[in-house]
């Protein structure tokens, strides 16, 4: 995307190649630009997002969950919660939407090479780090031990069981799951994700932690990881804010002196430590 282009704000038409109902409130749309030339030059990094446009309703910022190597189809997992996403939930395979992007700065995948990686997620889905796990899975030999830790409030909130089972089969990988409230069919830990940290496999001198989820949860994870000896420069997190223009102009995603849309959404904890978990920013 050219910085000086007058097309910064302009979406391109994309077709829904496949629609997957992940859970009652979560769908994945697999998209391909209808213009092959646009598709051919489209590139992204794990952790970046696109602005998806629903005709007549508006745009919404959605993380990309697919792998950059497979740029022919771009996947977005969408939580059905607002006006635009409720409309998108009604779309079917073959329908068209608008897409502009990619935007933002993604995860430090190159810096993480040869390091142990700890991926911590909380809540539903956590699409921003699914791209990290997929990225490492497809390049497994380049990374150290992979830890995947997912916490949910209630075991019923847990989705993607098959996907976690597949990840569990990856070499040199630890998958840990926790639910604050469990049920008879929940074979994993009942309690907080941080209860599981003793079971993680990593060298604190060089491990990289990548996390997303509620900020309160990330705050607790950061505290534990720092106590485990991981430096603030090795803690990475994905922020969520109201993003409308995605170009650092509209001001909605302002976070202190940063715009989450263009300076993030992925930040090193060092960059945001002073404001992190201060309510209202």
């Amino acid at each position: 995307m050219s910085a000086a282009s007058g097309e910064l704000y302009l979406p391109h038409e994309a077709e829904i190649v496949e629609r997957i109902q992940e859970s009652p409130s979560l769908i994945t749309l697999r998209l391909r630009f209808t213009d092959p030339a646009v598709q051919a030059r489209y590139q992204f990094e794990p952790g970046q997002f696109n602005m998806l446009y629903l005709y007549g309703v508006g745009e919404v910022a959605i993380s990309i969950v697919s792998d950059p190597r497979d740029a022919q189809i771009v996947d977005h997992t969408i939580r059905i919660v607002g006006r635009v996403t409720q409309g998108m939930a009604r779309l079917r395979t073959g329908d068209r939407i608008g897409l502009r992007g990619p935007y933002g700065r993604g995860w430090p995948m190159q810096a993480a090479e040869r390091h142990d990686v700890v991926v911590v997620t909380g809540g539903l889905g956590c699409a921003p780090v699914v791209s990290v796990i997929n990225y490492i899975a497809q390049r497994r030999e380049r990374f150290g031990h992979l830890n995947i830790v997912q916490g949910v409030k209630h075991s019923d909130d847990f989705i993607w069981r098959e996907r976690f089972d597949q990840w569990r089969e990856l070499p040199d990988t630890t998958v840990l799951l926790a639910a604050d409230q469990g049920s008879a069919l929940w074979p994993w830990h009942i309690g907080r994700v941080t209860d599981l940290f003793d079971h993680l496999v990593f060298d604190p001198q060089q491990a990289m932690v990548m996390m997303c989820g509620p900020e309160g949860m990330m705050h607790v994870v950061i505290k534990h990881m720092q106590e485990a000896g991981i430096a603030p420069s090795h803690l990475w997190l994905s922020m969520e804010r109201n993003m409308q223009c995605a170009l650092g102009h509209c001001g909605h995603c302002q976070y202190g002196s940063r715009f989450v849309c263009k300076d993030g959404p992925v930040f090193c904890y060092e960059q945001v430590a002073s404001l992190f978990d201060v309510k209202g920013f």
């Binding site: 910085a3 000086a4 282009s5 007058g6 097309e7 910064l8 704000y9 302009l10 979406p11 391109h12 038409e13 209808t34 446009y53 005709y55 007549g56 309703v57 508006g58 745009e59 939580r79 919660v81 607002g82 329908d95 068209r96 939407i97 608008g98 969520e240 804010r241 109201n242 409308q244 223009c245 170009l247 650092g248 102009h249 509209c250 001001g251 909605h252 302002q254 202190g256 002196s257 263009k262 002073s274 201060v278 309510k279 209202g280 920013f281």
Partner: protein, 374 residues
């Protein structure tokens, strides 16, 4: 005669408009409408607010007529240059959709008529410079802003009548225009000392019926500017409050100001540097066309901080803190200076008269000093 300076008699002011119009510019200037001085298209100097004075206090703005021959004997109205470059509402693109659901996106070409603005104050030039940084000098230059900005010719007016709510002397942005303009006028009772500050400005000057400027007139300009700074009673406690504000995020004053603040967003509308805007969609009733627009927004609205079911700043204290810590604090990290140019509009146009200088002083633990600085 020095080509860059001359004296334009009051009865020759129309020639300035004629020259600018003759050069192809749409002229914008101040005029009285609905009890306020606003900027709009101007073809005759008879529309200018000659003899009008403004009285501004926290929460109060009133115009009065006087016998003064001066056209610019007032401080500022609710608008700055902001609406002329960053439109209150504009279309960015449109989407046509046919019966098969195929979509076609088209960019809206921005209006970029050459525009000359008469009567720009130093505070508003400073604000324009800040907006240039935000909209043009970052990773993604904004094409809509750029199209209008490139076509502007600015005729500044040195401010000889600051309002009670002005504090540009303490922010270092006024009352004298020092950069960013093509021509500048300093008004005296019989006319204007006119100076050019750009090649474009010099070109326009050549066609004007100017008299040689006298030493006395130049000395008067200097004296007027000093007086204009001296009479300003309000001031910010410091030009860099970044550290002080963020060290006081839990100060009780945030809750206290929130008791008075209506969260109406007036301060952000009249602020010449506030840039927040929101996206809106206007679908045609035919179902075949939808227009994607942007319009000014304010960090005082609940929707501003909404994310998927959660409003991050659900109460006024958090919104006022967001505004002030950005405007006077983190703006320094973003753009190398404060986001406040001392125009005082937020003080005047706040319905309950909240004074940014008073709040900044209270929160940063410094008394709001009286008297002029610099």
């Amino acid at each position: 005669m020095n080509q860059d300076v001359g004296f334009l008699a009051h009865n020759e002011l129309q020639s300035l408009l004629d020259v600018l119009q003759g050069a192809g510019y749409r002229c914008i200037g101040p005029m009285v409408r609905d009890g306020a001085i606003v900027f709009d298209e101007l073809s005759s100097v008879t529309a200018l607010p000659q003899g009008i004075r403004d009285r501004q206090r926290p929460g109060e703005y009133r115009l009065t007529e006087t016998d003064s021959p001066r056209y610019f004997a007032w401080a500022n109205g609710p608008q700055a240059l902001k609406p002329l470059v960053f439109a209150p509402q504009e279309s960015l693109w449109s989407c046509e959709r046919d019966a098969q659901g195929t979509m076609r996106f088209t960019i809206t070409q921005p209006d970029h008529r050459p525009t000359a603005v008469l009567g720009v104050r130093a505070c508003d030039l400073a604000a324009l410079y800040i907006h240039d940084q935000h909209f043009l000098q970052q990773a993604y230059p904004d094409p809509y802003y750029l199209a209008r900005r490139q076509q502007m010719l600015l005729v500044a007016v040195n401010c000889t009548h600051p309002a009670d709510t002005c504090f540009c002397a303490s922010t270092g942005d006024g009352p004298q225009a020092r950069y960013g303009y093509d021509l500048v006028l300093t008004e005296q009772d019989d006319g204007f000392v006119l100076e050019a500050h750009s090649d474009l400005g010099k070109q326009q000057m050549q066609a004007l019926p100017l008299q040689p400027v006298t030493q006395h007139q130049l000395q008067q300009v200097e004296a007027d500017m000093q007086q204009s700074a001296r009479v300003q009673q309000r001031r910010l406690p410091s030009r860099n409050l970044n550290q002080a504000l963020f060290a006081n995020l839990h100060h009780p004053r945030w809750a206290e100001v929130a008791e008075r603040c209506l969260s109406c967003g007036n301060c952000t509308s009249v602020c010449p540097t506030c840039f927040c805007h929101t996206s809106t969609e206007t679908p045609a009733i035919s179902g075949e066309l939808s227009i994607h627009q942007r319009e000014w927004d304010s960090c005082f609205t609940p929707g501003h901080s909404y994310i998927h079911g959660l409003t991050l700043r659900a109460d006024t204290a958090k919104r006022y803190r967001q505004w002030l810590t950005h405007k006077l604090g983190s703006w320094h990290d973003q753009y190398g200076r404060s986001g406040c140019v001392g125009c005082g509009r937020c003080v005047t146009w706040c319905p309950v008269g909240i004074d940014i200088t008073e709040e900044a002083a209270a929160i940063c633990g410094q008394p709001a000093e009286q008297g002029a600085s610099t």
